[in-house]
């Protein structure tokens, strides 16, 4: 159900938004990099350290029980959020990057052989390129890349020829961080499965904007980060299908991930603990649960419709700027606008916007192959979250006009 967001009461939950930067009210439009945190998340973290900090799973005392329960409650909430079949298919990691590296170093190390193919796309973040290059180099596997069209969408006509009997893994993002394109992952997952390939989805940019149902998608892995969904940094999720996770060797060795240890032979713990060596990031994962509640209370469809409206207003106003070039004009996009103006360097625009209190991202956004494809150094990227307002969009556009005037 989509309901109108009460923006005033919502913004009251984000203390960080109410400040001046360079003498102007902060307009935070770098949400694709990281979202700000609501009071519920901050208080949850504070409450954990004040009231029940303890190491989990092992302790036989009161605080350890409460902490373990709160920590595992977040797993339940994530399990419900992405509709995984089992709770133990939700592995806690340090972030999306960590999740992808885990799969590359365990599943990849066990299953990839010389001549096998890994299929990526031009839209990938470096975090979904480099881990595959590392393992591909070690195993002699080959990386292939789905090209894009001018609008910043996968060239689906190429999929059939790119997926071959040698394709062992497809790793792509759900939503492009640089352009905001929502990719047709279901089609690709089905096509990849028809060839017997395993599919990993980088959902870092999707999780706070789109409904994700891993069973309906039928993806083999789905990764995302807590800090891009109103939760703390240092929290990441790896969803994997039970059978595949069970078949994978452990990643890091240490406490928590073992069943029995002798110097001759160690047996490993069951899912999800097999992949969670050492003391986890307890407090942050507990607070991540509060972030899931925050999103559930608002409702993803309401959040999405608010962000879509901001995207529409911003795109319309930006279109009127002389010499603007949009990167990523797909009809299905999240609230991300990537653009350049004339031959102005993105860094210059970003610096002058910052002077006016507007925070955007400039540069290559960790997607250098994408900008090589466009033949430019990078872009200016404004990305919206649920707490952004129409007034802020107008402020951003006004500040941008000032940049053009100064640089022109």
């Amino acid at each position: 159900m989509t309901v109108e967001i009460n923006i005033e009461s919502l913004r009251a939950q984000f203390p960080i938004l109410h400040q001046q930067v360079n003498g102007r009210p902060l307009v935070y439009l770098d949400n694709a990099a990281t979202t700000q945190k609501p009071l519920a998340v901050i208080q949850s973290l504070d409450n954990y350290y004040r009231s029940y900090n303890a190491n989990i799973h092992r302790g036989a005392h009161h605080l350890a029980h409460i902490a373990t329960e709160a920590f595992e409650l977040t797993r339940k909430k994530i399990h419900a959020l992405v509709n995984s079949k089992y709770e133990h298919e939700i592995i806690f990691t340090a972030g999306t990057t960590d999740s992808i590296n885990l799969v590359a170093q365990t599943w990849g190390r066990k299953n990839l052989k010389a001549g096998d193919e890994i299929l990526l796309s031009v839209l990938e973040h470096h975090s979904n390129i480099v881990p595959w290059q590392l393992i591909a180099e070690e195993k002699g596997a080959v990386i292939k890349v789905i090209p894009i069209t001018e609008s910043g969408e996968w060239d689906m006509a190429q999929i059939d020829s790119l997926l071959t009997d040698r394709t062992k893994l497809v790793a792509v993002n759900h939503v492009s961080n640089a352009l905001g394109t929502i990719n047709p992952i279901k089609k690709l997952i089905d096509a990849a499965h028809a060839k017997g390939a395993v599919v990993l989805i980088d959902g870092a940019q999707a999780i706070s904007h789109l409904e994700v149902d891993v069973q309906a998608l039928d993806c083999d892995f789905y990764c995302f980060s807590g800090h891009k969904m109103y939760g703390p940094t240092g929290t990441g999720i790896l969803y994997g299908k039970e059978s595949i996770l069970n078949d994978m060797p452990p990643y890091r060795g240490g406490g928590e991930m073992i069943k029995t240890v002798t110097f001759e032979k160690t047996t490993y713990n069951e899912l999800p603990h097999k992949f969670e060596a050492g003391t986890p990031n307890i407090g942050d994962f507990i607070a991540l649960g509060a972030a899931v509640d925050f999103m559930n209370d608002l409702g993803l469809s309401s959040m999405r419709s608010h962000e879509d409206e901001l995207l529409r207003i911003a795109t319309d106003s930006l279109s009127e700027i002389d010499g603007i070039r949009f990167y990523g004009t797909a009809s299905h996009k999240t609230g991300v606008i990537s653009f350049g103006i004339k031959d102005f360097h993105p860094y210059d625009i970003g610096t002058l916007l910052d002077k006016q209190g507007v925070a955007v991202r400039t540069g290559h956004h960790c997607t250098q192959p994408l900008w090589d494809w466009y033949g430019v150094q990078g872009s200016v990227r404004a990305s919206f979250a649920v707490y952004n307002t129409e007034e802020e969009v107008h402020h951003f556009i006004k500040a941008l006009h000032k940049c053009v005037q100064l640089l022109g």
Binding site: H345, Y347, K402
Partner: protein, 140 residues
């Protein structure tokens, strides 16, 4: 003029500006005005890669002093580069190696020197000092 005097000169120039816009207008003008580097030196070997903007730096020794020429693809970085070149160029290797660029902070542009700005400026200054040390060791 010594490096110290040049810095004082820039500081008094910037005292005329009453707000950030005037300051940046001036920096942008500096960036636009100067053909900073000879095309033959604007090559990858002389490239200092920032995460965002790029800087090219060339150093030459004449009459015991180092002359720097430099360029950037971002106009604000180029304006800042122009200021640093103005301060450090035509000075002895020893003076450059020892120089403390206090003017950047004094004119309120310190943020551009922090490594997080990734504009290549901090790396450029480091590279200038490396050139100074290299030229100084050749003089011995």
């Amino acid at each position: 003029m010594t490096i110290e005097e040049r810095q004082q000169e820039i500081i008094s120039e910037f005292q005329m500006f009453t707000d950030w816009m005037e300051k940046y207008e001036y920096i942008i003008e500096l960036g636009k005005d100067l053909p900073l580097i000879d095309a033959q030196y604007k090559v990858d070997d002389n490239l200092i890669r920032g995460c965002q903007s790029r800087v090219w730096l060339h150093a030459e020794m004449a009459d015991g002093k180092i002359n720097f020429t430099a360029d950037s693809d971002a106009i604000i970085t180029k304006g800042l580069v122009a200021l640093v070149v103005r301060v450090l160029s035509h000075a002895t290797p020893a003076a450059i190696a020892e120089a403390d660029l206090f003017f950047v902070k004094e004119i309120g542009l310190n943020e551009h020197l922090s490594p997080t700005r990734s504009n290549g400026l901090a790396s450029m200054i480091k590279q200038m000092k490396i050139y100074a040390l290299a030229f100084a060791s050749r003089q011995l």
